[in-house]
Symmetry: C2
Subunit: 555 residues, 2 copies
């Protein structure tokens, strides 16, 4: 089966009906347009969820404009539970489903979300149900929701779009497991090359293989394992999927949260957390020994998912076996973000001619999205970023450090975001900035990278930089990386202390272990900048092992 690689046809208003300002550009209007709101409703086999996104089309440097989630309604409807022999949706489940739809409708009504602003999609359980039409008619009668049933290909495509727009995945696979179905997509050069859907969703496999209220027996687990193995064997490309697997869906997120609890929680979300096969096997053993309702006792597992998490874990383990991979990497984006981004990014992502709704650089988009949301002085942040990168490049040319491009990305991110904490308050804004990075996460950066960015922001004013709060994530050399990033950020921030771009650019020269930073200034000079930059000499020495001299000349 080939996935449908063009964006699925979207319900409702065509994009051209959006205000003209929605088109990305560097020329943001002086008065930003009010954010447009758009809801995505996911009528999943396990959970019905409505997410409201606010889009700020005037935001700078973010393809398609900045966006954020402004509300989420979550109802564990279980429409895929206790299906009839032919997959019929049952009256009890339908009642729960219609109450949830009423709730969503009520919310949409009081938030002025009209039908064309709501993209409602239905997946596996509804797709396969012979009594689908009656349910959808009722939903349309009692609400402004106009659900469309996704084909298997469309469902797989949305999961793929979520994964590729929230990670640095290039060649590998995407696993998306819901209540009704499992999708696997193989990617090469960020494109989906193969895709397949199986009715291996966690609600279905639980009912078939792990029914009842008792702990799961070894035999039951074994039968499920064998079933998954046999099913996956149908797709010959699965064992050549590549060396990286990104996992989408609530079950993956819960398992990743359980992994985090085991390794010492760091307050970072599950974005980028690796669920390794060995840990998964331990978790399966622990979950199987508990009665379904007691599985919520495992830290990280949500109560509404407790009874189906074991089947999901066994299925994911089966995928790891079939692909020969050691781990699945969690992402917080899922079907809903895929549906949203497909429409949000359509035709707005460079490079020119790019037909797919893919961020050209996921990490950069995440950074700009956060900056657009919280940064109150972009002229200052942009200039700090400019100066910090200029310093990074000049010092690399002089052999002061090795110019690692991955480190350069971190310098850019920390500089762009260093002042976002001011949105919370001026006092301690360095700490608030870290809080905002940690709580929002940065798709496109690994957890240790996100921690480095957070700590560089935390130490952008004063204090001795340390990775201490993120010891559990720390890699070899991260303390030194943090020193280097912090030193560059503090130098750049010092040179921009007047928030007036008085230091236009910098030149650097080197004589042994002495480095001269020559600030090129505007007509008024920059005595404060010089004094502030000189104040960083000790940190520069610690980070780069060089002695700093600061000079000043006309630009």
């Amino acid at each position: 089966m080939r996935p449908n690689l063009t964006a699925p046809a979207a319900a409702g208003t065509p994009e051209s009906a959006l205000p003209a300002a929605a088109v990305t550009g560097d020329h943001a209007p002086s008065r930003p347009a009010a954010p447009a709101r758009r809801a995505v409703v996911d009528l999943g086999s396990n959970t019905f969820r409505m997410v409201v996104f606010a889009v700020d089309p005037s935001a700078r440097r973010v393809p398609g404009g900045a966006w954020r989630q402004t509300a989420e309604l979550y109802e564990p409807v279980r429409i895929g539970a206790e299906l009839g022999p032919g997959g019929e949706l049952q009256p009890r489940s339908l009642r729960r489903a219609l109450i949830a739809i009423q709730l969503f409708d009520h919310f949409c009504r009081s938030h002025d979300l009209t039908t064309e602003r709501i993209d409602a999609v239905a997946t596996s359980a509804i797709r396969e149900a012979p009594n689908q039409a009656a349910f959808l008619d009722q939903a349309r009668d009692i609400s402004r929701l106009n659900p469309r049933v996704l084909t298997r290909e469309q469902e797989a495509t949305y999961g793929y779009l979520a994964a590729v727009n929230s990670t640095t995945l290039v060649d590998g696979g995407v696993l998306d497991i819901g209540g009704g179905s499992l999708q696997l997509v193989r990617t090469r050069d960020r494109r989906a090359t193969d895709a397949r859907s199986w009715t291996l969703g966690a609600v279905r496999t639980t009912e078939r293989f792990l029914p009842g209220d008792a702990p799961a027996s070894k035999a039951e687990i074994k039968a499920l394992r064998r079933h998954v193995e046999r099913e996956l064997a149908d797709a010959p490309w699965v064992d050549r999927i590549g060396d990286r697997l990104v996992g989408v869906g609530g079950a993956v997120r819960n398992l990743a949260a359980a992994v985090q609890h085991r390794h010492g929680s760091t307050d970072l979300g599950v974005q980028g957390v690796l669920v390794r096969r060995a840990t998964l096997e331990d978790l399966i053993e622990e979950l199987a020994a508990l009665a379904p309702r007691d599985r919520r006792a495992v830290d990280g597992i949500k109560p509404s998912r407790a009874d189906v998490i074991l089947a999901a874990a066994v299925t994911i383990e089966g995928v790891l076996k079939a692909t020969g991979l050691d781990a699945v990497e969690a992402t917080e984006f899922g079907l809903r973000e895929g549906v949203f981004l497909d429409r949000h990014l359509a035709g707005r992502c460079g490079p020119e001619g790019e037909p797919l709704p893919l961020y050209p650089d996921v990490g950069d988009a995440a950074v700009r999205n956060l900056a657009a949301r919280y940064d109150e002085d972009p002229a200052h942040s942009d200039h700090v970023e400019h100066l910090a990168l200029e310093l990074f490049d000049r010092l690399a040319e002089l052999g002061v450090h090795d110019g690692d491009p991955a480190e350069r990305r971190l310098v850019a991110a920390a500089a762009a975001l260093h002042d976002i904490g001011m949105a919370v308050g001026y006092d301690d804004h360095h700490k608030h900035g870290r809080y905002l990075v940690v709580t929002n996460g940065l798709p496109g950066f690994s957890p240790p990278e996100t921690a480095l960015i957070g700590q560089a922001i935390r130490y952008h004013r004063k204090g001795s930089p340390t990775m201490k709060p993120f010891r559990a994530l720390e890699r070899d050399g991260d303390e030194q990386r943090l020193d280097r990033i912090s030193a560059l950020l503090r130098l750049a921030e010092g040179m921009e202390r007047g928030h007036d771009q008085a230091v236009r650019r910098v030149e650097c020269s080197r004589d042994g272990d002495e480095v001269t930073l020559d600030m090129r200034c505007g007509p008024d000079g920059a005595p404060v900048a010089r004094w502030a930059a000189e104040g960083q000499a000790a940190l520069v020495r610690r980070a780069f092992g060089v002695r700093l001299t600061v000079t000043e000349a006309a630009a």
Copy 2:
């Protein structure tokens, strides 16, 4: 000496030059005016500081409009150090002072803060210096700052305004200790009745009584104690000051932070923290045993204050002895806030005819100020507050709880602020809301009350309310208080789940341990509200020991 009880004459533009919208009123313009910025520069004997305040005159329910600090520049200039025999400012100190003034000026220039938007005041060291005029002329020459030298009375008045506008102080005293002088003010019915200033600032007493780089000897401490005792004896009203003493100034804040570190830090600021005499004596002993530069090793003491904190501690201890009080209560407001509020509130505080710039209700002003800053849906928050208070009152009438007015204030505050965390992000907004309360503090509420408000916000959606993160502050009965506040807030939030004010008001009736909550609704009814309110029955039972029934009728 009688304090000057009318607002001190302020430099610069008269208030009438502010836009008309600055006048408080419920009729906020639909498009809020851009916040006005105003700087206060405090040329203190120990530190020069510039604080920038942003005022939003359109904010609702805050006398004078909402305000917040948007920047602070801090230079430990020590202009009061090493004064000449006649109190002359010394060349070295003056050089440091002029560099700091240049820095402030640079910042003002790049932030469009014109002279009439900057209120610069000078205190003790500059006031007493015979070479004051030359310094002030130079400052005016090189900057847009136009400093005015405060009289002792004005300095005392500003400290008093800071204390009375950030605490519930009615009858008692205000202690304000800086680098140059100590002020004491006695208050009755929130009015200053007596005031006095002494040259007992920490820089002065350090130089005279605790000079040098060695630990302080017993004899030195004794001499300082005797001096403070003799000086304070001059004001006969000091031992009748009342039963409560509020402390203003950096030294008090540092000592309060040291107290917090000893008692287990709770992330709350020092607002309302009590520094008790016994703890102060311990701290004095600990600090005296350290060389001045090593006193920064005591957690809570800032490096730039390490060498003078001991003299300040001994002086404050002397005030406690002289007043016969057991503790001084820290506030985070100081001279700068006093200067700001004097102008900000002038003529804007009800009740009519109130000539003084005093918030009628400090805690309420703090709550409304925070709400104005972060709350994105005031119609919803107002209605949740209305419903929660209605429930509180009806249930008190029915004898379900005892209607404690202090608890009612907490219900109002938690309801008004329950959704402010959405300014950080929708996900986990209950946790973000607590973070915003904790990080900003709530002047007018005690630390245990602020903790209760924070935890009620934390649990306004789900979960089992607990005071666990604030165990160090917890008073008897606080767990039960939190249960009651949370139950009312969750009921009100449930009834307002649609964010549409569909439940207009509530009636309650009681039959033994059964309580019926009768929602009076708009024409469309409120099925979602009823379902959400019923979901709180277990918490209501735990909090009030009653069984809940929810009914619905037309309003």
